[in-house]
């Protein structure tokens, strides 16, 4: 009965169709897996750089776009540096999807207040695209996004187009304006002084570096968002992605299986230095 049992550690091959330079150290890889990876916004995959190893990334493309899948990746270390040598036509490996998607059904009828920082906009793009795909189901969609400098903003062109969508409200900031910049200057929380939605009835979704998540969450809690309506993408070390290897433990949770998105309510009492 060869091949009958599925091997969850085995990646499928995925060809790189395109590499888009987003910022000096962030690129979007457009991939075509040999077998479809039917992910939902919020889920992640393990990406294999052949001969090198794996790392977890969240697809940033729309869950309704099935044949290809995009990932927006920042170069930070060993595996991502190896990935950045890859060119269109070359092969990678992919397994997944893993983890729990954003509970979009629970978001229905509510305003959605999204806050992103840096490359953290990647998973939020998948969420945003899923929301606007059926925009009538939701209230207003607010997107607050901050990057270090104007050059560090990802999806520059798309952000301009998203601003035109009815029911969408976008505001941007940069920590420092090293080049001409017409919008706000300051860390992303400077966009949160006025929160235009009804905080008791809306959901907030946050993704970004730990320090940014910490301060954004603090603001959201102070503004009155209930902890169960604040959704945070937790980055823990992942090896298996399957809920087996123990690496991604965060308190009682395995981030790969119970997350990677967890609510503030779930994690607020956990004693780890993240958040």
């Amino acid at each position: 009965m060869s091949g009958a049992v599925k091997n969850p550690y085995q990646p499928v091959r995925a060809q790189i169709l395109n590499v888009i330079e987003e910022t000096p150290n962030i690129r979007t890889f457009v991939l075509k897996p040999e077998t479809e990876i039917p992910f939902l916004a919020g889920q992640f995959v393990e990406l294999t750089i052949p001969g090198f190893g794996e790392a977890p990334f969240t697809p940033s493309s729309s869950q309704f776009q099935r044949e290809t899948l995009e990932m927006t990746i920042m170069r930070v270390g060993r595996a991502t540096s190896a990935l950045f040598t890859k060119k269109p036509g070359e092969w990678l490996g992919i397994r997944g999807p893993y983890g729990k998607p954003y509970p979009l059904r629970e978001f229905e009828g509510r305003d959605i207040y999204i806050v992103g920082g840096g490359v953290g906009l990647a998973p939020l793009r998948a969420l945003f695209l899923a929301l606007v795909h059926e925009i009538k189901k939701y209230g207003r969609i607010y997107l607050r996004y901050g990057a270090r400098t104007p050059r560090d903003i990802v999806y520059k062109q798309q952000l301009k187009e998203w601003e035109k969508i009815k029911g969408v409200d976008i505001d941007l900031s940069v920590d420092s304006a090293t080049e001409p910049w017409e919008r706000k200057v300051g860390v992303v929380t400077c966009l949160m002084d006025e929160i235009p939605c009804d905080v008791k009835k809306s959901v907030a979704v946050v993704c970004g570096p730990p320090i940014m998540m910490k301060f954004v969450t603090k603001k959201l809690v102070e503004a009155g968002f209930p902890g169960k309506n604040i959704y945070l993408s937790m980055e823990m070390n992942m090896s298996c992605g399957l809920g087996q290897c123990g690496h991604c433990r965060l308190g009682p949770y395995f981030t790969c299986k119970d997350g990677p998105v967890l609510t503030w309510e779930q994690i607020k009492d956990i004693e780890e230095p993240f958040l």
């Binding site: 599925k6 091997n7 993240f274």
Partner: protein, 337 residues
């Protein structure tokens, strides 16, 4: 279940018959310590079986969850299917089973079952043996286990003076019994009963202090008392020996070797005490200090395991402190909670 008797004169022949059908491993006394040995017919004598002693120095974890195993390859995928000669672990102990219970939860009961573990488990037969004389390191009784086996093995064996009592626990086990066995009589059963009660009494005597019945809750409450944990782990030299010998630890790491054209993925044991264990991209580490990692072990085994699975991820085997350079005794720490 049915219990049979096999007279001393016939034990060797039965053992040899089993050895012909399986990859057989048995506990042997080597330089005063019991170790798992692979059966080879040349020079084997039945007296080498250490059935009356306590668990082997090594746990049975490596038989089922390999310390190093190839789990994927590229571009030709690796198939988890295949047939090996079945393995027989002859003479494992009550505490040896807790590891299997934990690993089954972790590797088989989630959304993505590990087919390699499943295959090994299905292909392994278990014959348990009573511990007539527990040793000072044993505390299985405090963790809901017993120094003998009444379930979850195929056969359970008790050594009497004139032969072996063998209780059939599973249907698979029944097939291992053959014509040399006779039904056990009442006197043999009461000898076994007396022997088991003596073992329990020894355990009770050497572990007189009852623990907090809610260890999980007690650990949660103690978590912020850093002094307690710093003191408890003060003698640790971070050799990781305790985690390496522990039968219930389940952590592993996947790593790849090869080149862009072809590679292999290997699964190796990993340990939460290792400083790099939880480090994420860019260098941040949620548990940078040893005391945090030390607490993590107690959270994992005694708090999350109990809350999520209903039993502690500890067997009371005592291997961790028998191995420990710093002589850190887990019983002492648990006893203080």
């Amino acid at each position: 279940m049915d219990t049979y008797f096999l007279a001393n004169a016939r034990c060797g022949a039965w053992f040899s018959r089993l050895a012909g059908r399986f990859n057989l491993f048995y506990p042997a006394l080597l330089e005063e310590r019991v170790h798992w040995q692979k059966y080879v017919p040349a020079g084997f004598r039945l007296e080498q079986l250490a059935l009356r002693q306590i668990r082997a120095a090594e746990s049975i974890k490596p038989f089922l969850f390999s310390p190093r195993e190839r789990v994927a390859s590229f571009p030709e995928p690796l198939s988890p299917d295949g047939k090996d000669m079945p393995t027989l672990l002859f003479g494992l102990k009550g505490c040896d089973l807790r590891g299997i219970a934990v690993h089954k939860k972790m590797f088989l009961e989630g959304e993505f079952a590990d087919p390699f573990y499943a295959r090994r488990l299905a292909n392994t037969y278990f014959i348990g043996a009573d511990c007539p004389v527990p040793e000072p390191s044993c505390f299985c009784n405090l963790l809901g286990l017993q120094p003998f086996l009444t379930q979850e093995v195929d056969l359970s064996l008790s050594v009497l003076d004139d032969g072996w009592l063998v209780e059939v626990i599973s249907e698979r086990g029944r097939e291992l019994i053959d014509g040399d066995f006779v039904p056990a009589n009442g006197s043999q059963l009461s000898q076994r009963q007396a022997q088991r009660e003596r073992a329990l009494a020894v355990l009770k005597q050497q572990n007189p202090k009852e623990w907090n019945p809610n260890l999980a809750g007690a650990i949660a409450e103690r978590t912020s008392d850093r002094k307690f944990w710093v003191d408890a782990g003060a003698d640790c030299v971070e050799c990781f020996g305790c985690l390496m010998t522990c039968p219930t630890c389940f952590c592993f790491l996947l790593y790849d070797q090869g080149n862009a054209e072809r590679f292999e993925r290997t699964k190796v044991w990993d340990f939460c005490y290792i400083p790099m264990y939880a480090r994420v991209g860019g260098g941040a580490n949620p548990r940078p200090t040893f005391v945090q990692r030390f607490i993590n072990r107690f959270h994992c085994k005694f708090m999350h395991a109990k809350n999520q699975n209903g039993f502690y991820a500890c067997s009371g085997c005592g291997r961790c402190f028998t191995t420990c350079m710093g002589r850190i005794d887990i019983r002492k720490i648990l006893g203080q909670l």
